[in-house]
């Protein structure tokens, strides 16, 4: 075990800085204003305020609704030493009842529709939903059919869309920051 730790110490820090300038977050990330999303349930807006109050202790839950598997890798990567999203106060939680943010991947297949709705329902307000990946944003390759809903917003209201097939971890991180109000649309992390 000591050897493990000494290996880790010798490695030094690998965690990336948040990209800046020309390397900044992809511009197509969009967060909807309250006027644009009248369908949202009351209580969804203040998550950002709560994020401040919670001193950056946001619990994230993920649900796969038919992704191609690569989005899961990129979400998992957020907790690896390179991106280390825990330093920003994001934690993975196993229970939807503890979750503040729901990450959804995939175009929502028929079999996953009910589990998705139920997961969202039991999450306490205020809460936010982030669609991760092109499939989740618009259906992507999987347009609406009897097999898939063709995007998460056909089932539930989406707060932040993170497009990409799959989006890079840094883009998902940006989406999470937007969803929790730690960052506003168009704003860059210092």
């Amino acid at each position: 075990m000591l050897e493990w730790i000494s290996r880790g110490l010798r490695q030094g820090r690998v965690t990336m800085r948040y990209p800046r300038g020309a390397q900044g977050p992809p511009p197509e990330l969009a967060v909807l204003s309250p006027a644009e999303r009248p369908y949202l349930a009351p209580g969804r807006r203040p998550l950002g305020d709560q994020a401040q109050a919670l001193r950056r202790s946001i619990h994230v839950r993920h649900i796969d609704c038919g992704s191609d598997g690569s989005e899961e890798w990129e979400i998992q990567a957020l907790w690896n030493p390179y991106y280390d999203i825990q330093r920003l106060g994001f934690f993975l939680t196993a229970a939807p009842r503890h979750a503040d943010v729901l990450l959804v991947t995939g175009p929502v297949t028929t079999a996953m529709r009910a589990p998705l709705e139920r997961t969202w329902e039991v999450m306490p307000a205020p809460k936010a939903l982030v669609a991760v990946g092109t499939d989740a944003c618009s259906g992507g390759l999987c347009t609406a059919s009897e097999l898939t809903a063709g995007g998460v917003d056909a089932v539930l209201g989406v707060d932040v869309y993170v497009p990409g097939s799959p989006p890079a971890p840094i883009a998902i991180m940006h989406g999470l920051l937007l969803a929790t109000g730690l960052l506003r649309a168009g704003e860059r992390a210092a």
């Binding site: 730790i5 191609d68 079999a111």
Partner: protein
């Protein structure tokens, strides 16, 4: 090279004459036999007796509607074709009834296409899973059934396991795939082959390169063209990088399951380095968009010298971490003896990939039916005999080393000789059908491609994940519920590939 120019092959010795099997011309490496639908089951039995491995069963449309069974036998892919004519429903003797490997593939065919295999009895709907359905079979005091999934703790793909347990031992596990069925095979229909390659990359995202290679090989073999040597080398580079990334991911997850957090972080760092390498090489962290029918789109964007230096550094760090990993008793104690799969079981289920190679089987598509650059590269197939989770970790470590060796060899070839990157697709809008295959990190992947007038007509994906998941029901012979995570990760499969 064209499929029509070939001499008909003689009937193989393992099929008796009275079955009336007639051989048909086929692309090299593929052996096509035509039988009557009524002789289909008996022919399959003969093949099993001769030691064949089941690959898939599906309905094909080119050159005529037919029931097709695919089997791997003696370095060839044997395609058993039973023309069905206008028969609706298609009736034949069930294969899944006596060959466990064929059960899921046949059941999928029954539920989606309405074929009628005589003698089969499939109770539970496989392709329309119900997350709330409990199907208990184990009786006893304190035995409870636990549906685990499709929403699971952690960031995992959707699949459900129904676990029946008295608390510790696990008398029965039922794996339920197809929560993620998106109808990917249908997305191919009517596309030009180049656009269809993008779809192929997104069937199972973590094995993009393998899916793209298998699909492109299928198109190329159906159209009778051969990609240039340099393109084949680049494809091997992408495929081996993908294998390293997938295996490192599995090993990091094994460390996570044993709460060995430093080890987990170490292997995640190594994996992230491979992802970054692919990003610099191709512009995509998953190496997408480079493999197209006829060859590759471009040279890698990174200098070959730099690439090989990066790989050297990776290998150096990996060697130390691997040594530490295999030396950590808290880790190995949990893996040794867990999830033991006997060779007989593995062969009965026609399992493929590191899972089969950990149980003493030496199946590897790169070795059995070499394709692309693997025809020139000598491959050492890594196998272990123990069949437990530890053996599968050893196989994965061995394969990473082997992949690095192959990469070095390939980079050497790429440096020494220049050449074309792709050949044009034939402009005569020809038709044809063929299997393309590749060894994905999860195991042997075969994709049936039908081309009509230059466009993709129908595609069938025989994914390694679907075949291997079926074995999960038997992976807990002496194990307890807390071993679940190790055993699941040691399989290293992707539900996206299985469900399509």
């Amino acid at each position: 090279m064209t499929s029509t120019a070939q001499e008909p092959i003689e009937r193989p010795d393992y099929l008796p004459e009275h079955l009336g099997a007639a051989s048909e011309p086929a692309p090299p490496g593929e052996l096509r036999l035509r039988v009557a639908p009524l002789a289909f089951e008996r022919a399959a039995r003969m093949l099993k007796g001769a030691g064949a491995r089941f690959v898939s069963i599906f309905l094909a449309d080119t050159p005529e509607p037919a029931l097709v069974g695919a089997f791997a036998l003696r370095g060839e892919l044997l395609v058993l074709r039973a023309p069905t004519g206008d028969a609706d429903p298609v009736v034949y003797g069930s294969i899944g009834a006596w060959w466990p490997a064929a059960r899921w593939a046949e059941q999928e065919l029954v539920e989606r296409n309405g074929v009628r295999p005589v003698g089969a009895c499939y109770a539970r709907r496989l392709t329309a899973p119900d997350a709330d359905l409990l199907d208990r079979r184990v009786a006893g005091l304190d035995v409870f059934a636990l549906p685990y999934g499709p929403v699971r703790s952690g960031v995992f793909e959707a699949i459900q396991f129904q676990i029946e347990t008295g608390g510790e031992d696990v008398p029965r596990i039922q794996t339920r795939p197809f929560f993620k069925h998106r109808g990917m095979e249908r997305r191919f229909a009517g596309l030009g082959s180049e656009r269809a390659a993008y779809v192929a990359e997104r069937v199972a995202g973590i094995a993009s390169a393998a899916y793209a290679i298998a699909f492109c090989e299928g198109v190329e073999r159906a159209l009778g063209i051969m990609p240039p040597a340099r393109a084949q080398r680049w494809r091997a580079v992408y495929a081996e990088l993908e294998r390293i990334a997938c295996h490192l991911d599995v090993i990091a997850k094994q460390a996570e399951a044993t709460a060995l957090h430093v080890g987990q972080a170490r292997f995640q760092i190594l994996k992230e380095r491979v992802m970054g390498l692919r990003m610099r090489l191709t512009g995509s962290r998953f190496g997408r968009g480079m493999i197209v029918p006829g060859g590759v789109r471009a040279e890698g964007a990174m200098g070959l010298g730099e690439l090989s230096r990066e790989l050297d550094g990776l290998e150096r760090d990996l060697r130390r971490d691997r040594h530490l990993f295999l030396d950590t008793a808290s880790m190995t104690d949990r893996l040794i003896g867990s999830g033991r799969l006997h060779r007989g079981l593995v062969e009965d289920y026609s399992a493929v990939g590191p899972l089969a190679r950990g149980s003493g089987s030496s199946t590897d598509a790169r070795h059995e039916r070499p394709y692309g650059d693997y025809r020139r590269l000598g491959l050492n197939v890594v196998t272990r005999r123990e069949g437990d989770a530890m053996a599968r970790v050893h196989v994965r470590f061995g394969e990473i080393s082997e992949s690095l060796r192959l990469l070095r060899q390939t980079i050497d070839h790429l440096r020494r000789r220049d050449g074309e990157l792709s050949v044009g697709l034939p402009s005569d809008r020809r038709s044809g059908s063929a299997f393309g295959w590749a060894e994905a990190p999860q195991g042997e992947l075969a994709i049936w491609v039908e081309m009509r007038a230059g466009l993709v007509h129908r595609v069938h994906v025989a994914s390694p994940s679907l075949r291997n998941w079926a074995l999960f029901d038997h992976a807990f012979p002496k194990d307890v519920l807390t071993d679940f995570a190790f055993i699941e990760h040691s399989f290293g499969l992707t539900p996206a590939g299985a469900d399509r």
